[in-house]
Amino acid sequence: MAHQRRSPRRDGAPALERRRFLGYLLAAPTLAVAARLGADLSSDTPAEAAIPSLPGPADLLDLGDALTLAAAPTSGLIGIQLNRDGTVSFAVPRAEVGQGITTTVAMLIAEEMDLPLEKVGVNLADARPELVFNQLTGGSNSVRSLYTPVRTAAAVARRRLLTTAAEQWKLDPATLTARDGMIRSSAGHSASYGSLAEAAASPRTEEVSTTLKAAEEFRIIGTPTTRIDALDAVTGRKQFTMDLAVPDAKPTMICRPPTTSGTVRSVANLGAVAAMPGVTDVVEVSSGVAVRAETFGQCIDAVRALRVDWGPGPVDGESDASVEDKLRAATLPMAVPPVLTKTIDAEFVFNFASNSALETNCAIADVRADRAEIWSGLKSPIVAQEQIAAMLGLPIPAVTVHVVTGGGSFGRKLFGDAALEAAEVSQAMGKPVKLMWHRADDSRHGRTHPMSISRIRVNHALGNVVSYEQRHTSVTTDFGHGLGEILTAVAAKLPVGDVGFSQTVFLLSQSNPYNFGVVTNLLNEVPLKFHTASMRNVYSPNVVCARELVVDQLASAMGQDPLTFRRGFLKDERFRTALDKAAEVGQWGRELPDGMAQGIAFHCEYKSASAVLVEIDCRPETVERPIRDGVGGPRVTRVAAVVDAGLPINPKGLEAQTIGCVNDGIALALTSSLHMDNGLPLEASWDNYFYTRQWNTPPELEVVVLPATTGEPGGAGELAVASAFAATAAAYGRATGTMPTRFPINHGTLSFEPKPTVPPIPDSPVDGLAHTF
């Protein structure tokens, strides 16, 4: 969509004129504008190196680029409407799950239209099949793919308002100004955008071209901005799926099997349970037995009362140890033999982890004979719509899918598991249902980030790294959320060879930022039928943690400090700047008591870079501090996290996401994992799955969002998980004198009493009044 005219400069070098972008005026009662989704590609150039590494696939084109490229030829229009009251409306074809995309998009519109931010209303678009692959929220790609189209549409609107006012006042548009939702002339005329909304409307849809503001003119982009939904969040007005009042959609839960994907053989007391207080319906469905009642409390009672004979599932015999053995057996061999060099070989094990959001899987479904309406937090709503239509035997247009604000995702909402299940249950009962997974279900039957093993061999000689090989072996990650086919198609055109889809994602996301000579990163997958999905930052946390720990070992083998070593081998000045900033803010090398240490790590991805410095306290009095129904362990006491996002649109939002990434990284390093036991995780709630809590979070945390570097927004919502994980692991290694190789470090000790699997969910306590404060 960008048309770039190159004119020769006097010195012979080509210069860029101000680029023009194509947008549309739409035929509508009030001013409506649009632009097509899709964007330009830009690529990083690898820096000079002692022993230069060839650019890896992720250096040429990363996952976000591939998503953007995949979307370009098939994408539809995204439109902005100016209302008579001077507000504008935009339905963003993405999910809002806490990452702040609605705020970012509102900022882009306000910037380019010269409108106060409060006048911009952004909501979430229903599933729009014509957008095909362009309605997926993932790969940190949202801001990158929307940045130019949204601004283009807004710029078309602003220009149209200027020309409309100029015609009315019979003045040259160039003499008018647009500011704060008003058009003014030097002669004293003024008109609000709202008053021009009808006059500016176009009688027909036509293509128009426009320029965009230059970075120097930005007044909103780059300014720290509070989220547009902040007030709703603190007053309880923010609505999630389970807060919606859909007529007759009553609480519904599923009684689930004691092993993954176990099946119902028979139910002994279906009739008796259907007669329990408040219960309206009990039916067998593919995932178990569904109950619908007046309250979720009565659903819980009914689920617990069901006597079900369960058939086996596909992974009943699998536990942590058996999965680990299979992964080790499947690890691909190294290519470079240790000849005439010194070698470091290392192996790291990363246990199953949960991407459970605080909002459990949930959806509302109202399925009728000829149509269905679904409400759910979905990152891939078109796929959900297609799958639901196929399952119900309805044409796709008969299925309306509303995307509802989600209570977190971390990869979980890529799949419409609850939406599909709700549709099935609603059809089976012939009634609307408000289906919610119990926390125990979400933890045990929800998708997990699978176990993986990373093996690394590095050869070094004479102060150089000659080769770096990493072999990552993982239980297959399910990418079946509809992104697969199209990305594989795009990948076929890339210089990555003939590889499958997971390998494509792996290759596109894993680049090595260091000059380590011959670099090969390979992924092998072991197909076991666990419920799996990506988790925030996908492969990177594990891959990068392993790499950065080996980097520390290399530094020590070469007698260098971890910071100095990294500075010397990083490929790019931009990377060094981020690293140096983390070292400066975190006071790298400062004096600490025995048992405490610092760790530093670097990661780049999605055209962004991040460096994190962590200080950890591993002294016995800290590690053994008593915590009721939780784990203490080593405490991260200070963190400095630096993010270079290319062009930070909302530094306040980036800071928030980075704070979240740091807490995720700490959890992965120290406390949070699932113990797989005969086909099911032992963990059934937050008193078993130890995500970071206040008693684990660093009391001192400083995030630095660097000023614009590349001028193009990179993705940054997940990036720092990897660097924070790695820095925490490195700090732990330096504090204890032993490099950790199994994560999280407390996985070997089971710190809780597992809850029963039959009945599948625990009863709610009745002693709440004994714990007030």
Partner: protein, 158 residues
């Protein structure tokens, strides 16, 4: 089924349901008060935190029969000044620090934080890092450090 009468956010309500239905479901499913969120149902995640007679409690773990006509439940919806609509200082500081990400845990976080500060003040002291470490509410988006900052500044205004 039996009638249960109590006060919610200043209004007297009567609901007809089983004695043992936990208050969270009475609030959410029967009264349509959806500020308190479900995150576990076993008094662990604290997403449902509300106040009973001014003290923090978790309605997922209290049967409706445990409250009587004089008991007053306050949820996030009732914490701002009812007359003027002025936000509670804790809510103001939540905005000033832009604490919420997905926002799902935040009603519970704010209600717990208010009670925690009140508790410290009643003991004649300021809120400390140890108090903050004791807040059990989970935030899966990891907003913990902004929560700590917001509680400290709000405490100075309470």
């Amino acid at each position: 089924m039996s009638p249960h009468t109590f006060l919610v956010n200043g209004t007297r309500v009567t609901v007809d349901t089983d004695d043992k239905v936990r208050l969270l479901w009475v609030l959410r499913d029967l009264l349509g008060i959806t500020g308190p969120k479900y995150g576990c149902g076993i008094n662990v995640c604290k997403a449902c935190t509300s106040h009973l007679n001014g003290k923090a409690f978790n309605p997922c773990s209290v049967p409706v029969s445990a409250v009587g006509p004089d008991d007053e439940i306050t949820t996030i919806e009732g914490i701002a000044d009812a007359e003027s609509g002025t936000l509670h200082p804790m809510q103001e500081e939540w905005l000033a620090h832009d604490v919420a990400q997905c926002g799902y845990c935040q009603p519970g976080q704010i209600m717990a934080a208010i009670a925690k500060v009140n508790q410290a003040h009643a003991q004649g002291r300021e809120i400390s890092d140890t108090d903050l470490d004791e807040i059990r509410n989970i935030c899966r988006c990891g907003t913990y450090s902004r929560i700590r900052d917001a509680v400290k500044t709000a405490a100075a205004k309470m």
